[in-house]
């Protein structure tokens, strides 16, 4: 069977805040100019919002620019931040930083505690109402290039291909979505964005991107403990001071509390398990006081970009551009990216609309990076640019230096620091101490499988694994022998398992791809970059609710 092809003015890959905002902005400009711009947006999740997971505290600045009447139109930003707390934790104790000492990037007055997946569901409705063709359940599988080498669109994945790679009875070929411009909004470490970065050398002359993994749970807590709008961040325990990271605990609506830990993927000890760190973090007196008597109702994980301005790749290539965290606009110092994603989507959309009005197609959208250079977003990221590099060293020294950077110099320090790719930072197991983590108690702490269960993730089992290995011998020869199989620890969904025969010999790597929550951590942290994440069939993966 051959693939059907369909043509649009603009194709957008990914229905997160960046992609949806780009789509909305395009339609707004089209209607103001009384022109028609056809916009097709695809999303690999089974519905818009299904794959969206974030803290989240949202800065409404960009949303207000995009949709000034969001409040009247029922956007789910309902819980204003009422109180900010920042704590340094030790194993038993804590030290609260007085608010006057908190750099402005850590202050959340005017922001909202939201579920970003719900915000995206709402944005999806706005986009559809404006005439965007939104297709959830379809994964962009392949970038398509025209005869001049420009991006001409994407192909969606074939459905119903068996484990053996052959079509099953249910086989349906993907479709080719062709466009004058294609915007990639896959989020952090998009698998197509990665290919584009390589092909068009988008990272030449920039720092490499660095990442964190965020693991989140949603709890329904006792009503008397619930303080809507209370925002709490911590640094320090349980993470070693040479590991970048911190936690968040946000009191959301309906007695829900979002709680999570972000661990920088530049950690060096292969025995470290971000999942187990998160589990034991919940036992800290400052944290457990809220959770005791409550129940866990949601779980998920996602890699986030943390490189900031100096790791931002070139944003455009012939035929399209990268928006949101597919490029890496997240402001790690503010632990916020949704406002940046929305703004970048808008800037890209404005460049696309201008190009279309000039009758152009499949060329470089230079107006997008230009627009970014003069935007408030660039200014914001510039000020925060040294946060991650400072924090990659030592927490205490880094906090002190970032304090100087922010409090005294207001982000205008004359230095810009450098970054190293995360996968190169892992030390050999023989050089590191194994970490023994406590067993889950089933009340505050849990194992991976019962956690993954709450992500509602699912994948058709009869399909080729979407976690591919460049070299099938590497997992044992390198990962197990030298690094003690770190993928079994950094994967928050128990996808990777080393199994042995009855005699405890002949280890092999078993990949439980159906557990995958699409966080992309393996694609980032695998020490030899042997694991490559590709999109499974559309409509699969987690189904996040209120996340």
């Amino acid at each position: 069977m051959t693939r059907e092809a369909m043509e649009f003015d603009v194709v957008i890959v990914g229905g997160g805040p960046a992609g949806l905002s780009a789509a909305i902005r395009l339609k707004q400009i089209a209607s103001e100019a009384e022109r028609d711009i056809s916009v097709c947006l695809i999303e690999k999740g089974s519905e818009i919002g299904a794959h969206i997971i974030s803290g989240a505290v949202m800065d409404p600045r960009a949303l207000t620019e995009l949709l000034p009447s969001w409040k009247e139109d029922g956007a789910p930003l309902k819980i204003p931040v009422t109180e900010d707390r920042f704590l340094f934790l030790s194993e038993k104790g804590s030290f609260r930083v007085p608010n006057f000492l908190l750099p402005p990037v850590f202050q959340n007055h005017g922001n909202y505690v939201v579920s970003l997946s719900n915000v995206c569901r709402w944005l999806g409705q706005q986009a559809e109402a404006l005439g965007v063709e939104v297709y959830a359940g379809f994964a962009g599988q392949e970038v398509l290039y025209d005869e001049n080498g420009a991006v001409k669109g994407v192909a969606t994945s074939d459905m119903g291909v068996g484990k053996d790679g052959k079509p099953t009875e249910a086989y349906q070929p993907g479709v080719e979505l062709l466009a004058k411009y294609t915007l990639f909004a896959e989020g952090c470490r998009g698998h197509l964005g990665r290919q584009l970065e390589t092909r068009f050398k988008l990272h030449d002359g920039t720092e490499p991107q660095v990442y964190g993994i965020g693991i989140k749970e949603l709890w329904e807590i006792a009503p008397e403990k619930h303080r809507p709008g209370l925002v709490m961040h911590t640094a320090g325990w349980p993470l070693p001071s040479d590991t970048y990271g911190g936690s968040f605990l946000y009191h959301f609506e309906n007695n829900l509390v979002a709680i999570g830990l972000v661990v920088g993927l530049g950690y060096s000890n292969p025995y470290l398990s971000p999942f187990e760190e998160f589990q034991r973090y919940k036992k800290h007196p400052e944290i457990r006081q809220f959770l005791e008597g409550g129940r866990r109702v949601g779980y998920g994980a996602r890699a986030i970009t943390a490189g900031g301005l100096q790791a931002l790749p070139k944003l455009v290539f012939p035929g399209g551009g990268l928006v949101g965290d597919d490029a890496g606009f997240l402001n790690a110092a503010r632990i916020k990216g949704s406002h940046a994603a929305i703004k970048s989507g808008m800037l890209a959309a404005e460049a696309v609309a201008q190009a279309l009005a000039q009758g152009r197609r499949r060329d470089q959208l230079e107006a997008y990076p230009k627009g970014f250079q003069t935007s408030w977003l660039r200014e914001e990221l510039y000020r925060a640019r040294n946060f991650k590099p400072w924090m990659s060293g030592n927490l205490w020294f880094g906090s002190f230096m970032f304090g100087i950077d922010q409090m005294l110099l207001r982000g205008k320090a004359p230095w810009t620091l450098h970054l190293k790719p995360d996968h190169t930072k892992l030390k050999k197991a023989s050089e590191c101490e194994p970490i023994s983590y406590p067993k889950p108690d089933g009340v505050l702490t849990f194992d991976r499988l019962s956690s993954v269960f709450l992500s509602n993730t699912n994948h058709e089992e009869n399909q080729p694994s979407h976690l591919t290995l460049k070299d099938p011998t590497v997992p044992i020869r390198v990962n197990l022998d030298l690094y003690a199989a770190p993928e079994t620890r950094y994967c928050p969904a128990a996808v990777y398992e080393i199994v042995r025969d009855a005699a405890g010999k002949n280890p092999r790597l078993q990949i439980n791809a159906q557990n995958c929550v699409h966080c992309k951590t393996c694609d980032i942290k695998d020490p030899t970059q042997n694991i490559v994440w590709v999109a499974p069939q559309g409509g699969e993966g987690p189904v996040y609710v209120n996340m």
Binding site: E4, M6, I42, S46, E47, A50, S115, S117, N118, R121, E133, Y135, G137, F138, T156, M159, G160, E169, A170, Q172, V175, L177, E220, N255, V297, F453, L454, N456, T457, N458, Q537, V543, V545, N546
Partner: protein, 249 residues
């Protein structure tokens, strides 16, 4: 031949529901909703019959709030030709649904009505049977195979301990079981086409049906948590525990 299929919008089968803290029901806010999987099988069977040349038109019917249109669009993206939504905010129980379907039957006169054997939210397994009784039509429930022959249809039913094949005269009611078929994936072009297919909206009042709930939900509870297992040292201890603790021997 015209086929009517009934489709219900339910919480997606991949999504875990949780009971509301006041035990009045389950939380459904922001949950992903999908077509009841047994109804997907019903739609698929109707399309198969159409592709085989046995049916000429497939009409999908759903009932409930306006958002049920999405479920009907999915049915049309799979291959139904048109759709009817009976729009109401009232909680619909199986008897009300059967009565509404009966009213639509009288308007549409289909030769075959295919429904899921049950919906995965309330697991009632009543609507098809009630409809057959109201319309005084033969029924083939729990179908794992459907074969049209002349003016009748042979339905193989999944029953305790085996299969039973019944022959029904058309028009007839069929409810689907899991093994009847595997629903197809919808394709993007078909979703696009489905947006343009006709969707008619009616109300219970316009059909002259009283949909007032007859049943009252007293309490919804989560199943009790499974107790953790324990290791026993030997058979003797196992037998002792089975006798004294589990009290099963």
């Amino acid at each position: 031949m015209k086929i009517l299929v009934a489709v219900k919008r339910v919480v997606d089968f991949n999504v875990k529901v949780r009971v509301k803290s006041d035990n009045s029901g389950v939380e459904t806010a922001n949950l992903k909703m999908s077509m009841n999987p047994f109804d997907e099988i019903a739609v698929e069977e109707a399309i198969k019959l159409k592709e085989a040349g046995s049916a000429t038109e497939i009409v999908a019917v759903s009932m409930g709030p306006a958002v049920c249109q999405e479920t009907l669009r999915s049915a049309m993206a799979m291959g139904a030709d048109r759709a009817i939504l009976v729009q109401t905010e009232v909680e619909l129980q199986p008897l009300a649904v059967a009565k509404l379907l009966h009213a639509i039957l009288k308007k549409e006169n289909p030769q075959l009505v295919i429904l899921g054997k049950q919906a995965i939210d309330d697991d009632s397994n009543q609507t098809g049977q009630m409809l057959a009784a109201l319309a005084n039509l033969p029924q083939g429930t729990f179908a794992s195979k459907v074969k049209l022959s002349g003016d009748g249809v042979e339905v193989t039913r999944e029953i305790d301990g085996g299969l039973e094949t019944v022959a029904l005269k058309l028009p007839a009611i069929i409810t689907t079981d899991l093994r009847l078929n595997t629903p197809r994936y919808v394709t993007l072009p078909n979703i696009m086409k489905a947006k343009k297919k006709p969707l008619e909206t009616m109300t219970p009042e316009s059909l002259g049906v009283d949909v007032k709930p007859r049943l009252k939900t007293l309490k919804v509870q989560e199943p009790p948590k499974r107790k953790p297992g324990a290791k026993v040292a030997d058979v003797k201890e196992l037998v002792a525990k089975l006798r004294s603790e589990a009290k099963v021997i």
